[in-house]
C-alpha cells in the first residue's frame, strides 16, 4: 500500500500555479479524448477540430464570442455570490426568468424608440432575474434554507414557467413553442463582426463596474468581508442578512441579463433552447476564475471555445451533443483535483 504525504508549501509561485492549471487542462483533454475514442472517432482529429472550428476562422471566432457573452453574465452572476461564499446554482433559471420578463414586455408592452426600448428590456430582464433570485435569498435569510438546493430546484420551476407561456399564450402560429420574432426595436445591434452583438459591451462594462464595486467601494468591502468571515463581518457591524439579500439580487439580475442578451441579441425570440446550460457553465467559469471579474472574461472565452468546438464535433463528426458537457465536467474535475498540488508537495510513500 502507498500512502500520500502532504507537505505545505511555503510559497506558491504564480508560474508554478499556472503550470499546474495548464497540466490539469491537459489531463482533462486526454480524458475527453478517451470518451471521444470510445465513440469511434480519432481524438486527435476531434481536438484539432475543436480548436480550428472555434479559432481557425473569423466566423469561428465570432461564433465563439457570441457564446462567451451569456457566459460572462452568468459567470459574473455566480462569481459575485461566490465572493460572499454563497452558491447561486440557479443562474440557469434566472436566465430564463429574465428572458421571459423581457419577452413579456416585447409582446405586451408598447414599441418604444429603439434606444429606449432596449434600455427598458435590459432593466426588465435584470429585474426578472433578480426577482427569481430573491426567492432563495428570502428562504435562506428567513428560514436558513440551503441555497444550493433551493436555487437549483427553482431552475426547473422557472423553465417550466417559460414553457407555460411558450406552449400557451405565446406559442407560434404553427403551434410550435416559440414566440414571434421580435421587432427591430427590440433587437440588439450587431457590432460588425459576425453575430457578435452589443451585449458584449454591456457585459464588459459590467465586468469593470463590478471590479470597481468589489475592490474599491465600501459596499464591495462589505460583500467580501461577509464572504471571508461571518464573525469579522458582524464585528465590523455589517448587516449580514441585508448584504446576503443584496448579493442575491445583483447575482440574479446579472443572470437575467444573460437571458435578455440571448433573446434580444442572438435568437430574436423566446424558445426552449435559448440557453445550452449557460447558467451551469457559469458556475465553472466563476469557480475557475476565483470570482475575479476580469479572469471571468478569460474563462468565459475559454469555455465558449469548448462549446463552439463541441457544436462542430456534433455536426461534423456526429458525436452526441453531450460531448460538450462531458468535457466541461472533466475540466472542472481536473482543475479541482489539481488545487491540492498548488498548496502542497504531494509525495507517495510506502506505508503499511
Amino acid at each position: 500500500m502507498f500512502k500520500i504525504k502532504l507537505e505545505q508549501k511555503e510559497r506558491v509561485s504564480k508560474r508554478e500555479e499556472l503550470i499546474i492549471t495548464l497540466s490539469a487542462i491537459g489531463i482533462a483533454f486526454v480524458l475527453s479524448g478517451v470518451f471521444i475514442a470510445l465513440n469511434g472517432v480519432n481524438p486527435f482529429v476531434a481536438l484539432w477540430k475543436v480548436i480550428t472550428s472555434a479559432l481557425g476562422s473569423p466566423y469561428g471566432i465570432s461564433e465563439t464570442l457570441v457564446k462567451s457573452i451569456p457566459l460572462i453574465f452568468t459567470g459574473l452572476a455566480v462569481g459575485i455570490a461566490l465572493n460572499s461564499k454563497l452558491w447561486n446554482i440557479g443562474a440557469e433559471g434566472q436566465l430564463f426568468f429574465g428572458a421571459t420578463f423581457a419577452t413579456a414586455f416585447v409582446i405586451y408592452g408598447p414599441v418604444l424608440p429603439k434606444p429606449l426600448e432596449l434600455t427598458v428590456l435590459v432593466i426588465i430582464g435584470a429585474i426578472g432575474g433578480a426577482l427569481w433570485a430573491a426567492i432563495p435569498a428570502l428562504l435562506k435569510i428567513k428560514f436558513k434554507m440551503n441555497e444550493v438546493i433551493s436555487t437549483l430546484l427553482l431552475n426547473y420551476v422557472a423553465i417550466n414557467i417559460a414553457d407555460y407561456f411558450l406552449f400557451g399564450p405565446w406559442k407560434g402560429k404553427d403551434n410550435f413553442p416559440y414566440t414571434p420574432e421580435f421587432p427591430i426595436e427590440a433587437k440588439f445591434n450587431r457590432i460588425g463582426f459576425g453575430r457578435v452583438h452589443i451585449g458584449l459591451f454591456i457585459a464588459l462594462v459590467l465586468v469593470v463596474l463590478l471590479f470597481i464595486m468589489l475592490y474599491h467601494t465600501k459596499t464591495g468591502y462589505k460583500l467580501r468581508l461577509a464572504g471571508s468571515s461571518l464573525k469579522a463581518a458582524k464585528y465590523a457591524g455589517i448587516n449580514i442578512k441585508k448584504t446576503m439579500f443584496l448579493v442575491f439580487l445583483i447575482s440574479g439580475a446579472l443572470a437575467g441579463l444573460a437571458g435578455v442578451s440571448q433573446v434580444c441579441g442572438v435568437e430574436y425570440k423566446l424558445h426552449q433552447q435559448i440557453s445550452t446550460g449557460y447558467g451551469y457553465t457559469g458556475i465553472i467559469v466563476a469557480w475557475l476564475a476565483r470570482s475575479n471579474p476580469f479572469i471571468i472574461v478569460i474563462f468565459a472565452v475559454f469555455l465558449s471555445i469548448l462549446l463552439k468546438g463541441a457544436d462542430s464535433l456534433q455536426i461534423a463528426m456526429r458525436l452526441p451533443a453531450a460531448v460538450g458537457i462531458v468535457m466541461q465536467a472533466l475540466i472542472l474535475f481536473a482543475i479541482l483535483g489539481s488545487e491540492l498540488f498548488k498548496n502542497y508537495n504531494v509525495k507517495l510513500i510506502r506505508g503499511k
Binding site: L139, Y156, P320, A322, L332, E339
Partner: protein, 307 residues
C-alpha cells in the same frame, strides 16, 4: 376511491425511486461527506441499467451493473474530496455534470428503445388480499419490496453495529474518532461508494422498472429532491420512508389534480415536485429540529493536521 388507490399505489412506486437514493445519500452524509452528485449518479445508473437490460435481457445484470457504476461514481467523489481534499460542493456539482453529460453521450443509442424484459409484479400471498392496503402495498415488483426493508437494515447497521458507530462518529468528530482507532478515511471512502451504489440502483429502478425507457436527463431533478429529503428525514433512514412515500403521494396527488376537477394549467403541474420539495424544507426549517446533522458534514478532513 379507486382513483385514490391508484394514486397511492403510484405514490409507493414513484417514492421507491427516491427512497433508494435517499438511503444512499444518508449513508454517505452520515460519514461526513456531502455528495451533491446524486442527480448525475442516478442518471448513470438509469442509463447503464437500461443499456444492460436491453442488451443482455438480464434484469439482475442491469441492477448489478447500475450498482457498480454508481459505486464507481461514488469512488470518484471520494477520491476527489478525501484524497485530493477538493471542495465537496464543487466536486458534487462536477459529478452531476459528468453524469448528466456521460449518460446522454452514451445514451443516444438507447433513445426510443423498448425493453423486452421487465420486473414482474409479484403479489405477496395473503397480504395482497387485504382490501385497499394490500392493493396499495403488496402488489409490486421485487425492487419495491426490497426498498421496504432497506431502511430497516440501514437503521440497524447505523445504531446496532460497530460499523454504524464508526460511520456516525466519522461524520461527527473525525479527529477524535481517529484517536479512538477508527480509520476515518477508509470509513468515508466506503460510505461514499456504498451510497453511490444505492443511488445507482435508484436510477436503474427508474429506467428499467418504473418508466421502462431511457430518456436523456430523465431523472428530472430527483437527485436534488433526494438531497432535500435527506434533510427532511433528519439523516434518519426510518424517517426516509415517510419522506419518500409522502413526497411520492403528494406529487401523484398534484399530478392528478384535474381528476378532482381542480382547474390548474396542466403544463405547470410539472413544477409540483420542486415546489413540494421547497415546502418540505420550509416545514423542517420551521420545526427547527435538525439534530442528526453530521457536525463535520462537508468539511475536508486533514489527517496530517493533527500533527
Amino acid at each position: 376511491m379507486n382513483d385514490l388507490i391508484t394514486i397511492l399505489y403510484a405514490a409507493i412506486a414513484s417514492g421507491t425511486i427516491i427512497l433508494y437514493a435517499t438511503i444512499g445519500e444518508i449513508i454517505t452524509e452520515r460519514s461526513g461527506i456531502l455528495n451533491l452528485g446524486v442527480e448525475g449518479i442516478m442518471l448513470m445508473g438509469a442509463f447503464f441499467g437500461f443499456y444492460l437490460a436491453y442488451t443482455t435481457e438480464s434484469l439482475l445484470l442491469a441492477i448489478v451493473g447500475a450498482a457498480v457504476i454508481g459505486g464507481l461514481m461514488g469512488l470518484i467523489h471520494a477520491f476527489m474530496t478525501i484524497t485530493l481534499q477538493a471542495n465537496q460542493v464543487v466536486s458534487g456539482l462536477a459529478l452531476t455534470m459528468f453524469g448528466t453529460g456521460a449518460s446522454a453521450f452514451f445514451g443516444v443509442s438507447m433513445v426510443g428503445k423498448t425493453l423486452r424484459t421487465s420486473f414482474e409484479v409479484i403479489p405477496i400471498p395473503i397480504l395482497s388480499k387485504i382490501p385497499v392496503l394490500g392493493e396499495i402495498l403488496f402488489n409490486h415488483n421485487i425492487l419495491v419490496y426490497f426498498a421496504f426493508i432497506l431502511p430497516l437494515i440501514v437503521w440497524f447497521v447505523f445504531n446496532r453495529t460497530r460499523w454504524g458507530l464508526a460511520l456516525r462518529s466519522s461524520g461527527e468528530e473525525p479527529l477524535s474518532s481517529e484517536i479512538m482507532g477508527i480509520k476515518v478515511i477508509k470509513v468515508r471512502y466506503i460510505a461514499t461508494i456504498v451510497g453511490g451504489i444505492f443511488i445507482g440502483i435508484s436510477g436503474a429502478y427508474l429506467s428499467v422498472a418504473y418508466s421502462r425507457l431511457w430518456v436523456e436527463g430523465m431523472t428530472a431533478g430527483r437527485g436534488w429532491i433526494t438531497i432535500a429529503l435527506v434533510i427532511f428525514a433528519n439523516w434518519n433512514p426510518l424517517i426516509a420512508y415517510g419522506g419518500a412515500y409522502l413526497f411520492g403521494g403528494l406529487t401523484q396527488l398534484g399530478l392528478n389534480l384535474q381528476k378532482f376537477n381542480i382547474p390548474f394549467p396542466i403544463i405547470l403541474l410539472k413544477s409540483i415536485p420542486y415546489v413540494f420539495t421547497l415546502l418540505f424544507l420550509l416545514f423542517i426549517s420551521l420545526k427547527g429540529k435538525r439534530s442528526n446533522l453530521p457536525k463535520a458534514l462537508g468539511e475536508s478532513y486533514f489527517r496530517e493536521s493533527r500533527g
